[in-house]
């Protein structure tokens, strides 16, 4: 009796899985009755797919199917309909801010979780004009209902984030999921400018901006292709554990393209590495350049965090850098806003650091030597 | 008495904890209206019997019939209508109102909401009246004195309206008047309510005075039932509480310290009362008291003087002293 039940259960589970798989595959094609749908491929980004129809755009992400148009449309169920161009938007990530500014649509921003995190001069000006409501995180639902954005652009890195987005959906808000951080490379992440541009009918502008970014990036990359790569260290000591990005992270790809050799590039994972400081000490001693990638503004903060750092060779040579240029009055760094979305400028910064002779005379945008 | 059926009958009962047998070959019958004091030295098994009868402990062997049914066949709720208990241990939740506590005695009879109907209220009121505690009803348990607390818990057990009332050392922590009052109440419960009252006690002097029936657990672990005086005469009493440093004075019924070199003293004159208590004090202080005069030993004479008050006169070695209290007498005798 027990085994019969078990087999039945297995059959049921299998059927459910198969059914959902079929639905998933079946839904891979857009269900719009328009034979002129054109698929517009991305160069790097894997998180979204754009289709262009006669009077609309269709974008599909892992979790959503969104139809964007400035005309009324008949849609099948499961699609979100967004009227373009969007006039009022609330976003949850600083990277979304950078994209809006690049598209010159930052004036549509009306809400953000914490205005103190905003580093762009233009958007800060809007904050001063009281045009952007501080929404806290999770978003204050009453305030959202008051400011009535056309869409909310959010991200979800955990169940907790998802829950908050669902709560907003329950209030009949249009929640668009923009998980640009899930891309494997910074170019892929930067390509999300096209995703955001769809909501403003500015796809062509976005494509141009991205093409320029890509060209500049590749040009800089080519200049350092054959140069000797310095050993690059990232991270810091947290109570005896050295945390650093895994070898497949987007920052490591950037370092590699900028002509650097990340000392843990062989650890092929995109998760953060947690290593015992004793085990990695010899590797630390071999490093030639150290990008701290944290909140240290000067060497004093570095030393007071752990005096062992002064024993490192890289400390003696002084090649310790962090993205401390461009901060707002709350000491929040613009790197996290614009930096991440401008890989072309980032690679220049790193090339200036790794190979000073190549871009001699140029100034870094975000990175600076710690003094 | 003959047409009354026993409430509890035990045959060849063996009680103890797991492997440890405390008492065996126990046989008894308890009838309605019995007031039985269970006595024996510490650790002899009094509490074990009470626990077994209360069903906190399983019997090791033998039979116990309660109202003609084996003890373990009764459901908890039905058994609660037959037997109620009063324990010595202090209840830790002392914030309960006395009235609420007594009402809880009706638990086996009320519905889940605990509401008392007219019959319940009547029984509770009768219990309160019998115990004389109507002035205590609005107090909290921890505001009561030991004696009052004892009475309140007895009232609760009485409100449970059972055939048997078991009490574990109900008089132990009370002062003498308190002890006497509890025993008086228990007697009243037994007689008026026809409840069988079984309790354990160490206060053998009081029991000797007030109890007509006791169960004695002797040194060998045998349970014997009988009148206390029989046990004194037979020597069971002394054997039961035997202690190397004490001897039992079986004329008075007290234990006194064994002392070497008993001194002899003669006591003459006086009325019954003064004589009895002078003798009591002398014997307590290890003097052998004689009614006649022996040369060489002190003579105490109780004399009434012209005003009608008594005083004591001690004559020893031709020296005569006159005292007005037994305390002064003692001082002189000791020197």
């Amino acid at each position: 009796m027990g085994t019969r039940f078990k087999t039945l259960l297995q059959k049921i589970i299998y059927t459910i899985c198969l059914f959902s798989l079929v639905c998933h595959i079946a839904s891979a094609e857009p269900c719009i009755k328009d034979s002129n749908i054109k698929f517009i491929a991305n160069k790097y980004a894997k998180g979204f797919k754009i289709y262009q129809g006669k009077s609309f755009f269709l974008v599909e992400t892992k979790k959503q199917k969104i139809l964007i148009s400035n005309e009324p449309q008949n849609i099948c169920s499961g699609y979100l309909l967004v009227k373009s161009p969007v006039k009022k938007i609330a976003v949850m990530s600083t990277t979304h801010l950078a994209v809006l500014e690049m598209l010159n649509e930052h004036r549509s921003l009306i809400g953000f979780p914490d205005n103190k995190l905003i580093t762009s001069a233009n958007i800060t000006a809007l904050v001063d004009q009281k045009k952007i409501t501080n929404l806290d995180y999770p978003f204050n639902r009453e305030k959202i209902l008051l400011i009535k954005p056309d869409i909310i652009m959010g991200y979800s890195a955990s169940v907790f984030d998802e829950e908050n987005l669902v709560q907003l959906e329950k209030l009949n808000q249009l929640v668009i999921l923009n998980n640009d951080f899930q891309e494997e490379s910074l170019l892929g992440r930067a390509e999300w400018i096209k995703f955001v541009a769809l909501f403003y009918n500015k796809l062509k502008l976005a494509q141009k901006i991205f093409d320029d970014i890509e060209k500049s990036y590749i040009k800089t990359k080519d200049r350092v292709k054959n140069l000797k790569k310095p050993k690059v260290l990232i991270g810091q000591n947290n109570h005896g554990i050295w945390s650093a990005p895994g070898g497949s992270s987007d920052i490591v790809k950037l370092i590699s393209d900028a002509g650097g050799d990340y000392i843990w590039k062989d650890k092929k994972t995109s998760r953060t590495l947690q290593m015992s400081i004793e085990a990695v000490w010899s590797k630390l001693m071999e490093s030639e350049v150290w990008l701290t990638q944290n909140t240290w503004f000067n060497l004093k903060e570095l030393k007071s965090s752990d005096d062992k750092y002064s024993k490192l060779k890289v400390f003696q040579t002084g090649r310790i850098y962090n993205h401390v240029l461009k901060v707002n009055k709350w000491k929040n760094m613009n790197y996290w806003e614009t930096g991440i979305m401008r890989p072309d400028l980032l690679i220049r910064d790193l090339v200036i650091i790794f190979h000073p002779n190549v871009l001699a005379g140029e100034q870094t945008t975000w990175y600076d030597k710690l003094k | 008495m003959m047409d009354l059926l026993p409430i509890i009958t035990a045959k060849n009962l063996k009680v103890g904890y797991g492997q440890a047998v405390i008492l065996e070959n126990i046989n008894f019958s308890i009838y309605p209206g019995d007031m039985i004091c269970l006595m024996g030295h510490n650790g002899c098994g009094k509490t074990t019997i009470l626990r077994t009868l209360s069903r906190f402990l399983k019997k090791l062997d033998g039979e116990i019939y309660v109202k003609d049914q084996a003890i373990d066949k009764w459901s908890d709720l039905d058994y609660a209508k037959i037997l109620s208990i009063v324990l010595t241990e202090k209840v830790s939740e002392s914030n309960l109102l006395v009235k609420d506590l007594i009402d809880l005695g009706r638990y086996p009879y009320t519905n889940f909401m605990g509401t008392l109907d007219n019959d319940d209220t009547l029984i509770v009121d009768k219990a309160i009246e019998l115990l004389g505690i109507s002035s205590l009803l609005t107090k909290k348990i921890d505001e009561l004195s030991d004696g009052q607390r004892q009475k309140v818990f007895i009232a609760r057990a009485l409100a449970q309206d059972t055939n048997i009332l078991l009490l574990d050392e109900p008089t132990t922590f009370l002062d003498l008047p308190g002890k006497m009052e509890i025993l008086r109440i228990l007697k009243k419960i037994a007689i008026e309510k026809k409840v069988a009252v079984l309790f354990s006690s160490h206060d053998w002097q009081l029991i000797l005075e007030l109890a007509s029936w006791i169960w004695l657990i002797d040194q060998r672990g045998n349970l014997k039932a009988g009148v206390p005086e029989d046990f004194i005469i037979s020597g069971d009493f002394e054997r039961c509480f035997h202690h190397p440093q004490f001897i039992f004075d079986d004329e008075i019924g007290i234990f006194k310290e064994k002392k070497e070199n008993e001194l002899i003293v003669s006591l003459l004159g006086g009325d019954n009362k003064k004589k009895i208590w002078t003798r009591h004090l002398l014997r307590k202080e290890a003097f052998k008291v004689l009614d006649y005069h022996i040369p060489g030993s002190p003579v105490i004479e109780i004399i009434k003087d012209s005003q009608g008050t008594d005083h004591w006169e001690i004559t020893h070695h031709q020296k005569k002293s006159k005292v007005n209290t037994l305390e002064e007498l003692l001082v002189i005798l000791k020197t």
Binding site: K148, S156, E162, E163, L171 | N95, L96, L101
Partner: protein
């Protein structure tokens, strides 16, 4: 109208007042005419009924459940310091959520087009149900108050250990999310979920009230209780079960809310000067509701930032309760 009724009415009034305040006052100012009958499909109505109403009702119900479970645990273990989490159910829920937030990288692929079908509520519920299951088995094997207490403690520590390992290997964003969850919030329950939440808590509360005379008997100790005819084992198992369900439900929907469970029974005992559960159960429910509603009210005070519930209960609640209990010091003889 006797003293008991007056006091209960006073407490009810406090609850109603807090509910009223929570509905009226919030981050956004609602025009007065909208408060009492306005157009029905406007944002004001949405704010009132889809945001403020669920959070108020959640706070009220959670407070009731926490107060009651705290009282039951204090009676069960005969320990004035017992709280609803003594059994370790909250630890199980926390572990479930910790795994959900920190150990899972992306939410399951089975339902690709639904945003957030699996929520913290789901993970917390699974965690607490598994703990409850474990607890029931344990109580079958060894039914001893002391052992149960120790097991709850041990379980709590083991879970804390596992969670700390998860924290070490997670990225900071997820850790912050988990931390936010542990702060407790009454705003996670939406209108469509409040029905189930209310159902479970009301059933639990009514059941506990019906067990009042049994609870009173337990106050006298197991011996008196048994000799009064109470099936002590069955009653204790039932109390454990109801407590686990109620405290598990509150933790699942709101996160681990501290303090209310341990303190409201003491407030009720001082205020009503009684240990009778027929009196205590309604009063503890009301005190719990008042504490929860008050902390929700204070949390919205800062305008821009929502203060965490557990923070308020600790910082503000602690001294307030301290003062109240000192004034009622005559009640307790520990």
């Amino acid at each position: 109208m006797n003293s008991f009724q007056t006091k209960i009415l006073l407490l009810c009034f406090a609850v109603v007042l807090l509910v009223f305040l929570l509905m009226i006052i919030g981050p956004v100012n609602i025009p007065v005419n909208e408060l009492f009958g306005g157009k029905h499909v406007s944002q004001w109505q949405t704010i009132l009924w889809e945001i403020r109403f669920p959070k108020t009702l959640t706070a009220l119900l959670a407070g009731v459940a926490l107060g009651l479970t705290g009282l039951i645990m204090q009676t069960y273990f005969n320990n004035p310091l017992a709280d609803p989490y003594i059994l370790g159910v909250q630890s199980g829920a926390s572990l479930g959520v910790a795994i959900g937030i920190m150990a899972l990288d992306s939410v399951l692929i089975i339902f690709p087009n639904y945003l957030g079908q699996l929520s913290t509520i789901f993970f917390a519920t699974v965690g607490s149900l598994l703990t409850l299951f474990f607890l029931m088995i344990l109580s079958k094997i060894l039914f001893n108050k002391l052992i149960l207490l120790v097991m709850g403690l041990v379980f709590g520590h083991v879970i804390t250990g596992i969670i700390s390992i998860l924290v070490t290997i997670s990225e900071s964003h997820k850790i912050k999310n988990f931390l936010l969850w542990t702060m407790g919030s009454f705003q996670r329950v939406s209108l469509d979920q409040i029905g189930m939440f209310a159902f479970i808590i009301l059933i639990g509360a009514i059941l506990l009230f019906c067990l009042s005379s049994k609870l009173n008997l337990l106050l006298l100790g197991d011996k008196y209780a048994k000799s009064s005819g109470l099936n002590v084992l069955k009653t204790r198992k039932m109390l454990l079960f109801i407590t686990a369900i109620l405290s598990g439900t509150v933790t699942s929907f709101c996160g681990p809310i501290a303090f209310i469970g341990i303190i409201s029974p003491h407030l009720a005992r001082s205020f009503f000067k009684s240990s009778n559960h027929f009196v205590l159960i309604p009063s503890v429910a009301l005190f719990g509701a008042i504490m929860a509603l008050a902390s929700e009210f204070i949390s919205g005070f800062m305008g821009d930032i929502t203060l965490p519930i557990n923070g308020i209960l600790g910082l503000v609640g602690g001294p307030v309760i301290f003062i109240i209990l000192i004034n009622y010091k005559k009640v307790y003889h520990s």
